[in-house]
Symmetry: C2
Subunit: 737 residues, 2 copies
């Protein structure tokens, strides 16, 4: 098979994933959606999620069209520039947006069906939840490879790249390849912008609703969490889908495309236009998709079986299978070129073979898994970090917070050392192209990885629906069980996300230097570079401040609205008193009370809470999003060197803050859960649910919420979005010099 | 006057400052130390502070001797290396240690005398407190210039630098000058190491005692703050001296020497050995010391006058006077060399005159003042940031913490932009030498600046002594008044500290590149540089985690000890009940109760608390201190380029964390005070002392304590210490290549 034909496999594998998604969506639709009450709740969550997406996409359409027009216009002003960059940007944004839409559509259908299935047992519930997540995963990788692949094949066909290479016109081929890469960077930038807005908007939505619902419902009114009398509960559930499913999907879409692109660019540059360097990342991605689809069928468990084992076999199995397949692909490409490839120029040439490239790729994989294990250590119950927070909670919230921040700070150390080792190893064996392959190695099985990630919030949501519709307690137990087992795999996923973001940003950063400064070096002691470095280091802090303030303000709006409903709707007020009293007396409601409370639940104005979260998150996602888009452009047009510094600065402090915030948040969360697990009579009596220690731990958990679900995960995207913006504007900067 | 003679002015000006310090120390000793109870408390604080210093210096002596020996040995192994580097290191450490010793000795004498003077009025109390601070300030700059100046004059005499220059042996002179600079860097490193240990140790000491005293005394036993029944109160007061006086003194000693050295090195390198470039920073520093001494006599107020005005005239007046004097010095040096100086080599030569150098220097001064104003804005009552924390405290500690962290993050933005502008301006007018002069501009009046800074904790301590010895309330009011007015000037001082640290580190960083890589550039996209950048960015997080954990652990030890005394000393237990009951009933003690309580106060085992803080802080300062010393050495011997990246990474994330932590801490502190100022009947009744909002604000303040007093200020030193270590080992690395 020649290489040109092989490239068609890329969009074809995307179609395979989409076909899987379509079939599975149909299957999920046919599952039982439970009783009327469940159906109604499910419908409310579905409509809330769709309302958010509609509002978000309305704003983003305007934004995307403007940027696309601007890019096309600017590119036509430079020699050899193509207006296709704007079109590619549009296509990237569209594919990412569609992936979010389809994924969330099915996730909000799957949650209520998971709850329904959990009435009969654990095994059917696992299948529904996992397949719901798998649709999300396959939509993401399918649309990514379809869009990216079709665009790529069109471009190389249009420019007759293979013809040029065949007739030995290396110079023309090189120019053509550079142009293809610029346009593909536009696609990646489109996906990244959507990702940033989706992550920030979703993060604000979910935490505003969560904090608002908890503070008024649980703390002030004294009713249980997720109770249907609380009008913010539906918004909270919508938020889980919006933030954890759609936000994460867009995030990984962006990482996936970004790491493929980074490897393509660096490969093309380092090897002076060898097509194999471009083919390797694309073919590995295509193979990863097919493997992911196949492995979804392995994830199933028997009744009484351990769902953890099922998920592990799926995710780790896929990663393990990818090793021989990657070897085969790399070896094929390298042998086409005669067995060794010269990477680099002049005295810095590195002659690499199949094994060198494999080592580079595996070093990323190993670092990603190790970081995941460390992430798990810092956030798990019973381990030293969480234990120390539990200890320090004894003397109140202040010591709990100090301990959590300390743990979060400390948790940056080992992951950074591991990333450093991975860079060192990948670079030693295959230069910067190796670093890019290391990032790709972690993301080749994104399809199934994302399925496992999205399965968590679906199970969590199913639990909420079970609670709200008053299903028997064992249903909730089953969904909790499902939710809990996803944690380890999710921690590994987090490790992959952070490590791959750092490595992908590094490779795109090197690509930027090549494109914008054309041969000139980026010298760290130059004042302009240092200015960029300092400004770039500051941006993640400012960005996080904006995201956190948005959560605070939006939560305040939500609190005011829930308080208003509790005060102004008389039947609701009465029902609240009944439920709170029963809670206090630790008894179940009588049949009569139950009927009254259910009737009152009909009167809650759920839509208003949904509207508040939607509006607040859409409005407040704009400022941080624009910060990320505009800063590199402004700094870059002042000085391309300063922009280089800016990217490095953002990378450094962004990675640290991202690790700090997500690990501190995770540790606080599990410290609270660990306190809740304690027996009340333990030690000095300051333990367990309801104790002073528990109150302190709850405060830590609340502080951690915007850390781990809003600001933290958005920072990964910030780093990469700024870098890809720089790569896209690099030819404009180079032309302007 | 020829230049050689002028250089003798440097140690001479140091002697002037020390003479002032000696005379003023005598004057303070003659002031009234109050009644017997005050004298006893004063004595306890004095002895506690001296015990800490003794313990600290014992450990540091071993450490300093080891490092000095190692440096001397290593330097003799390279061609042209001098064992004097180790001796200079020893001298730097000794001078810094002596400054801390004398400064703290007099500060702990001045505090009780300030309390005594406050019995008669505000004006005499101001004079005592300010002069106490001035002794500290003059000891620091005096010993710095004396040590640095004597060493420098000895070295240039020994090498006959002026003879070489006179006979046109430029090459030999250049080599000699480089050697002088290496040795002076050793002096600076000695001062920096002492500074880091003093800051970290002092920071741990003060916060462990503070948190421990408050939690058991105020929260658990219900007695007022600073009550003499609380055995940790003396330790708390000792801590204020150890942390805020001695720690800050060592910190500024280090900044001061570092910025002079940075300017000397860059000047010598950029101008290819022009002695004027070395003379300018030294002479400006010498002039600044004399101006500082003179301006201390201006700081006085009439009874009923505004002490703020007196302090402002002193500090700002000195800075204003320095402008024409600096112009004169620069103009003299530039004219000696013919009116313009060529800085740089090859195509990058910049011809600069007097005005260019002045602009560079002033740009630093302007940025420092502006950053101070912004710092003031973020930490002041009634301004938007603190108001927002007060608002968010309404819904509890979690929202208070989220708001404070958000404000702290946000507060990094403007200072960084200002530092960037200062670098840009200084570089445009006078290259990297200009950047070094910008740092120096801020620190030329360190003498009086430090007097104002140290005056704050002396007044604060005087208030504590007044409280503990049962002086009438108006005495406490006066000392509070004194303490409060120092805040604005202290904020400016903080601005100077951060901005000058960043600029000085930048110039030393450039100096490192010149020394270690000798002509080779530090290329940002090189994998080794990137690895260094990431590791360096992580170090401030790890360092802060260590410092914060040390505070937490030491506070726990203190809490356990205070609880033990409250439980096991029967008369103390009874007295506590009496005081707490009176507090609750909001009445004064009867004469009989008072006598019983005072008798019980005699039984507290103050020394044990002092010993706990001392031991904990000495033990726990070692780990973060070694981290800062060892990392650059290990990374540097692996790769000199990676060490360059490491320094840049530490600079970027260190500056951000330092600004974040000190501003968040300051904002939380004043948010608490603002809540305390509120009337109880304001709004929804959730305001003022004792309200839920107040409890939330107190928690924020406690979280902020280790931020602003332990980790935050230590980070400034961390950044510079790592850079100076790199400069000192640079010739070793270059020789090893």
């Amino acid at each position: 098979m020649d290489m040109q034909t092989l490239f068609y496999l890329v969009p074809a594998s995307g179609l395979v994933a989409l076909a899987y998604a379509a079939v599975t969506t149909g299957w999920i639709g046919k599952q039982d959606a439970g009783n009327d009450r469940m159906k109604k709740i499910g419908e409310q969550i579905f409509r809330g999620a769709m309302a958010f997406l509609a509002a978000e996409y309305k704003v983003l359409t305007v934004f995307v069209l403007l940027v696309a027009g601007l890019l096309s216009y600017m590119y036509t002003t430079i020699p050899g520039g193509s207006w296709m960059v704007g079109v590619a940007f549009l296509a990237g944004a569209l594919c990412s947006g569609l992936a979010g839409y389809f994924g969330m559509r099915v996730a909000t259908r799957a949650n209520v069906r998971t709850a329904a299935a959990a009435r009969t047992g654990l095994a059917p519930a696992l299948t529904v939840a996992f397949r719901g997540g798998a649709v999300m995963g396959m939509c993401v990788v399918g649309l990514a490879l379809l869009g990216f692949g079709v665009l790529f094949n069109l471009l190389i066909g249009d420019m007759d790249l293979f013809g040029l290479l065949g007739s030995g016109k290396m110079m023309e081929a090189q120019i053509g390849l550079n142009q293809v890469i610029s346009i593909m960077a536009g696609f990646s930038m489109g996906a990244s912008s959507i990702a940033l807005f989706a992550r920030v908007g979703g993060g604000i939505y979910t935490k505003a609703a969560d904090v608002g619902a908890d503070l008024v419902g649980k703390v002030e009114a004294g009713i249980p969490e997720d109770h249907f009398l609380n009008p913010a509960t539906i918004a909270d559930n919508v938020g889980d889908n919006v933030g954890d499913v759609a936000g994460m999907g867009a995030d990984l879409f962006e990482s996936y495309i970004g790491s493929i692109l980074g490897a393509m660019i660096l490969g093309a540059v380092a090897s002076q236009g060898w097509m194999g360097a471009v083919a390797i990342p694309l073919l590995i991605a295509a193979a990863g998709v097919v493997i992911s689809v196949l492995m979804t069928y392995v994830v199933r468990t028997k009744e009484g079986g351990n769902p953890q084992v099922a998920l592990d076999i799926g995710a780790f199995g896929a990663a393990a299978l990818m090793l021989p397949i990657s070897y085969f692909i790399i070896d094929f490409a390298v042998n086409e070129a005669g067995g060794t490839i010269a990477l680099g120029v002049g005295s810095n040439v590195l002659n690499v073979g199949t094994v060198d490239l494999m080592v580079a790729m595996v070093s990323g994989l190993v670092a990603g898994v190790a970081i995941g294990i460390i992430t798990g250590y810092y956030c798990s119950k019973g381990k030293r970090p969480v234990n120390s927070i539990v200890d320090q909670s004894k003397t109140g919230p202040a010591t709990n917070i100090i301990a959590g921040i300390g743990i979060g700070f400390e948790s940056t150390a080992l992951p950074i050392v591991l990333i450093a080792i991975a860079i060192f190893a990948a670079d030693a064996y295959a230069g910067l192209y190796g670093v890019a392959l290391a990032a790709l190695g972690m993301l080749s099985t994104t399809g199934i990885q994302l399925a496992v990630d999205a399965y968590g919030p679906i199970s969590d949501n199913a639990g909420g629906i079970a609670e709200m519709s008053g299903l028997p307690p064992q249903v909730r137990e089953r969904t909790d069980n499902l939710d809990a087992v996803g944690n380890t795999t999710a921690a590994i996923g987090k490790g992959f996300a952070i490590a791959s973001a750092a490595l992908a940003a590094l490779s795109l950063f090197a690509a930027y230097r090549g494109l914008a400064l054309q041969g000139q070096d980026l010298i760290l002691t130059e004042p302009k570079v240092l200015i960029g470095l300092l400004l770039g280091g500051m941006l993640p802090f400012l960005f996080s401040a904006m995201a956190m303030r948005a959560v605070g303000d939006a939560a305040m709006d939500m609190i005011t609205e829930v308080r208003r409903q509790f005060r102004d709707i008389p039947v609701l007020r009465e029902a609240l008193t009944i439920v709170a009293k029963a809670e206090e007396e630790e008894r179940a409601l009588t049949a009569e009370e139950d009927a009254q409370v259910i009737a009152a639940g009909e009167k809650t104005e759920v839509e208003r809470c949904v509207a508040i979260s939607t509006q607040a998150s859409i409005r407040r996602m704009i400022q941080p999003g624009l910060l990320a888009m505009i800063c590199p452009v402004v700094v870059g047009f002042w000085s391309a060197e300063a922009l280089g510094g800016l990217l490095a600065g953002t990378l450094v402090s962004g990675v640290m803050l991202a690790i700090f915030m997500s690990n501190a948040g995770g540790a606080w969360d599990n410290a609270k859960k660990q306190v809740e697990d304690q027996k009340k009579d333990l030690g000095e009596g300051n333990s367990g649910k309801g104790s002073e220690r528990h109150k302190a731990a709850v405060i830590g958990d609340t502080v951690g919420d915007p850390f781990k679900d809003t600001a933290g995960p958005s920072l990964n995207i910030l780093i990469k979005l700024m870098t890809i913006v720089a790569v896209v504007i690099a030819p404009l900067l180079a032309a302007g010099n």
